[in-house]
């Protein structure tokens, strides 16, 4: 027995989400399974740069051309996921003039708009750039929200009949007579949106074709059928600042190197990154030196970063791939291009195609290419329209302004809601009245949180990714319990509590790398709120400890105290205010 689908896509990162959208829009019956929440792997763990192509303009012009082309496409189809920040390639005195000229020429060769700015002009745009920055090249880099982008792709796919299953891990491939015919999937908490406390279950999903889009995990999927998919995972750190020291993407203009980019993102800036090959995409050291390196090195471009508050750091794993036999030693030299591995052709094992390598900016193009490939196998002749049809949330530009008017939304909170929701603003905000703010750092309202819960079930980390709630300075200290409260009563108290503890654990993971200065103070305040004010750590419902209730003050002594007259120094405090 089992479930049938025409195509099974493994992996809910940008590639998988792009593929499932494309297939669904071409009328293919498709199911996507992702072991965590959407963007769980590499996609949700990057700095959010929408490449102009400038970074590859010298080293890899083919990629550079693809980037600028897709950069333009995403501005059109995913406007609500993209912030048009612009980008700068900045040259310091010690950086090579020759390379600067090569970069400029490369941009021009690849049709990337590029303008040379003097140091003064660059500082006029970004006042915190170092005084000795000599000059810069302005390019159309932008910031993209990978969560919003993937969710929008998944929603569009669902609207076209696709089935999306998160927290659904592939535990084996189904192989019959040498052909891959599907996969065994373990649902952590039943099918559909996550529900804490629901027992897990297994499902066998049979498909006419399987797409392995598991990124850095693609090798593990291949292993299930004895296929060698030699992904070379390479880790990199991203350090999140508490505010936007720059409003433009700032790149260091030098050939290659660690710690050479700052991307403004919503309320924060993200510093990146490092590049080190790791053996296991889930188990690798997250190291202090990496955090210090990005702060210290990028302070050469923007000196105030040295003293600025960082709120957390996270690591991502690039799913680098190179064809067998290439033998590149340094992971920074491995191509960022993508590869389609047709296992029928390559390994004589039909039924599955793997897609490896690549980058977020060109996710749609990669998805189109693999969808073409799959459609050819299935004999489907529909053409791709994903470059032309806007994603949900980006359809109707005028709608945002109209909704803002209708809800009287001129406050900063509402502006930010509208930024996140795009053309869904009116539908979502109208769903909840009154609509109080749940996360005040990021200005996220109850309506948005409930909208995300409808999609994500009790997975508060998925709610966080959709709304940005708990991603600000306090890292959930003030709002995590409020987010959990929105689960109730649709989900029971025990589920809400489990979801809260899971969110807190995830928030702590990244904060560990920012525990000094103001963020250590914030951690202590959070510790006090959770440990003392809420007493979550001593909560009998959590610890299971039985309490001898009658050993504690039950108030019965108060009358005796009153009879003795007590003390009167504090009085009733009536009128204490303002006297």
């Amino acid at each position: 027995m089992g479930t049938r689908t025409e195509v099974l896509v493994i992996g809910g990162g940008s590639t998988g989400c792009g593929v499932v959208r494309d297939l669904a829009r071409r009328g293919v019956d498709v199911t996507l399974v992702e072991k965590g929440n959407l963007t769980n792997g590499t996609t949700g763990r990057m700095h959010g740069l929408l490449h102009s192509g400038g970074r590859y303009a010298v080293s890899d012009q083919a990629s550079a051309r693809e980037c600028i082309e897709e950069n333009r496409v995403l501005r059109d189809i995913a406007g609500h996921c993209v912030e048009e920040t612009g980008g700068l390639f900045v040259k310091r005195p010690e950086d090579s003039e020759e390379y600067f000229q090569e970069k400029l020429q490369g941009c021009r060769d690849c049709d990337i708009p590029a303008e040379v700015l003097t140091g003064e002009e660059a500082r006029a745009r970004e006042p915190y750039l170092a005084h000795d920055v000599e000059k810069a090249i302005a390019v159309p880099d932008a910031a993209v929200d990978p969560f919003r982008l993937c969710v929008a792709n998944a929603v569009d796919a669902e609207n076209h009949g696709a089935r999306i299953e998160t927290h659904a891990e592939v535990t084996d491939l189904l192989v019959e007579s040498g052909e891959i015919v599907g996969a065994t999937v373990r649902h952590a908490s039943g099918k559909g949106p996550r529900e804490h406390g629901t027992p897990g279950e297994e499902e066998e999903i049979y498909a006419d074709h399987v797409v392995n889009a598991a990124g850095a995990w693609a090798g593990r999927i291949g292993d299930f059928a004895g296929l060698d998919v030699a992904v070379r995972p390479s880790k990199g750190v991203m350090t999140v600042m508490n505010t936007r020291q720059v409003d433009t993407v700032v790149n260091r203009c030098r050939p290659k190197g660690d710690a050479d980019i700052i991307v403004p993102h919503e309320t924060a800036c993200i510093l990146g990154t490092t590049d080190e090959e790791v053996g296991d995409p889930e188990d690798y050291p997250e190291e202090e030196w990496e955090v210090d390196l990005v702060i210290d090195t990028l302070s050469e471009l923007v000196p105030i970063l040295q003293e600025a508050r960082t709120i957390r750091s996270f690591w991502g794993v690039r799913p680098l791939y190179e064809p067998p036999g290439t033998g590149t030693q340094d992971p920074t030299d491995i191509t960022r291009d993508y590869f389609t591995l047709d296992h029928a052709e390559r390994d004589d094992v039909p039924g599955m195609t793997s897609i490896v390598g690549g980058k977020l900016t060109t996710y749609r193009m990669m998805a189109e290419s693999i969808t073409d490939h799959v459609c050819e196998k299935l004999g489907v002749s529909a053409t791709c329209d994903t470059a032309d049809v806007p994603l949900p949330g980006s359809e109707r530009e005028g709608d945002i302004e109209a909704a803002m008017e209708r809800f009287g939304l001129r406050s900063p909170v509402a502006r930010r809601s509208a930024d996140r929701l795009g053309s869904r603003t009116e539908d979502v905000l109208a769903s909840c009245d009154p609509n109080p703010v749940v996360c005040s750092c990021e200005g996220v309202t109850r309506a948005e949180v409930r909208d995300a819960i409808e999609q994500a079930g009790t997975d508060l980390n998925a709610v966080r990714l959709r709304t940005r709630a708990s991603m600000g300075n306090c890292q959930g200290g003030r709002c995590a319990h409020r987010m959990a409260a929105e689960l109730h009563p649709e989900h029971d108290e025990e589920s809400a509590r489990a979801a809260l503890d899971e969110l807190r654990a995830e928030r702590w993971k990244g904060q560990r790398h920012a525990l000094w200065g103001e963020q250590l103070s914030q951690a202590m305040l959070n510790h006090a709120l959770h440990g003392a004010t809420l007493n979550e750590d001593g909560d009998p419902a959590r610890t299971g400890a039985s309490v001898e209730w009658d050993a504690f003050d039950d108030g019965a002594g108060a009358d005796a105290e009153d009879a003795q007259g007590g003390s009167t120094a504090g009085g009733d405090a009536e009128g204490a205010h303002g006297d």
């Binding site: 109730h488 029971d492 009998p540 400890a545 108030g555 405090a573």
Partner: protein, 416 residues
């Protein structure tokens, strides 16, 4: 004429205010220098002494204090100092607080629906005691996302409290803005301009099923809180209580008002400016702190000083990537050299950083790295003193009261 007092206390939290009152009690002239806003409004308003030792819930904190490790602040000052500190607290707060009639801890519901042990609690929270077996109704407000009453009630049931509890959500009269501040609710009830008290009671009446006690988020008035509770209680024919909440905390603000009144009555001079440096006699004694005033650093002289600037939250303890320090007098703060040893990976594990603080001798004088005394006439009180994780053990205000009382009394006595 130079600014000169017997005692200067740096820091305006519970520890600093207690130290100032204690020093004034010895007959000393006292000046308290603090940054503008007190941190009392960040705390729930409950006064914890010791709720947990070795992660076990404690019914009688005085019993357990003697067993604490030698570097715990309570071990430095002894159990009698804890009693003295509480006695001073009771004198300052009077009828505003309850719990002084017993050594036993009380268990109070938190706004998340857990229960927590505490030694003194606002009178406004008294009817909410978890050991009271009367059934309870919790009422939340639609627009106030910090307290979800039905969820808190379910959570209390999961904690197996000895009474039945139900939660209901009502809309607060006058439809406050969706992002209204907590104080907006309190002031509407204080002023009662549009009969908010009666209208609120009428809305609660619709969901009230005769429970003998009804709990609300702790926003029931700031200056007229007793009258607000009485009005609600009379209308509902039930005891009314507040469930303490996170910042900004109305019980914390009321407590702050009581302390400010006590400081005024005791003749303590309060200066709301930052301290930026100090002077010594070159022979191990402090002579003055430098108070920042319009860009100038003005010496404030005294014979004895108390450091009560708070811990990591109050910025009495500061840190950067290189280390942890005490910024006012640069007192020694022991800590691992590697900042990755300041925490443990388990988010709910036993964290090192909450214990960061200065090391004191039995007379509360900060010690330097070699064990010597930093300054002959400087004492430390409250969370600037290391050795206690006040959040995990629920001991915060108790440590501030005990060490504040001891440091202030000693500082004052030295000058008399």
């Amino acid at each position: 004429m130079a600014i000169e007092d017997d005692v200067i206390v740096v820091g305006g939290g519970v520890a600093g205010m207690t130290a100032a009152l204690a020093a004034a009690d010895t007959g000393a002239s006292v000046r308290l220098v603090t940054k503008s806003q007190s941190t009392l409004r960040h705390a729930s308003g409950l006064v914890d002494v010791l709720g947990y030792a070795d992660e076990e819930l404690i019914a009688d904190p005085f019993d357990a204090i003697g067993d604490l490790p030698a570097d715990h602040p309570y071990a430095k000052v002894g159990v009698e100092a804890v009693r003295d500190g509480l006695a001073r607290f009771d004198a300052v707060t009077g009828d505003l607080y309850r719990g002084g009639y017993t050594d036993a801890n009380a268990l109070l519901p938190t706004h998340g629906g857990a229960v927590k042990p505490t030694a003194r609690y606002p009178a406004s929270a008294a009817a909410g005691l978890a050991s009271d077996e009367r059934d309870a109704l919790l009422v939340g407000f639609e627009t106030l996302s910090d307290f979800d009453a039905p969820l808190a009630a379910d959570h209390l049931r999961a904690a197996d409290v000895p009474f039945d509890v139900r939660g209901a959500t009502v809309s607060f009269p006058g439809a406050p803005r969706a992002d209204a501040k907590i104080t907006r609710y309190a002031h509407a009830l204080d002023e009662n301009d549009d009969d908010e008290r009666e209208r609120l009671a009428a809305r609660v009446e619709r969901v009230h099923e005769g429970e003998p006690r009804v709990g609300f988020p702790a926003v029931l008035g700031e200056s007229h809180h007793a009258a607000v509770r009485t009005a609600l209680a009379d209308a509902l024919d039930a005891d009314v209580f507040e469930v303490p909440m996170g910042p900004p905390s109305l019980p914390g603000m009321r407590l702050e008002a009581a302390y400010e009144r006590a400081l005024r009555d005791a003749g303590v001079n309060v200066v709301r400016r930052p301290v930026d440096g100090y002077e010594t006699d070159g022979d191990g004694r402090l002579t003055a702190v430098l108070v920042e005033r319009n860009g100038q650093r003005v010496p404030h002289y005294a014979d004895a000083f108390v450091l009560a600037t708070g811990g990591l939250v109050g910025e009495g303890i500061d840190s950067d990537r290189e280390g942890v320090h005490e910024p006012v007098f640069d007192c020694h703060v022991p800590h691992p050299a590697d900042r990755y040893e300041w925490f443990v990976d388990d988010p709910f594990g036993d964290q090192p950083y909450p214990r960061f603080g200065v090391v004191v001798d039995d007379d509360l004088r900060p010690r330097d790295a070699t064990g010597g005394i930093e300054f002959e006439n400087l004492r430390a009180a409250g969370s600037v003193v290391g050795g206690a994780d006040f959040a995990a053990e629920c001991s915060g205000t108790g440590v501030s009261l005990a060490t504040g009382d001891a440091a202030g009394t000693a500082a004052g006595s030295d000058t008399q």
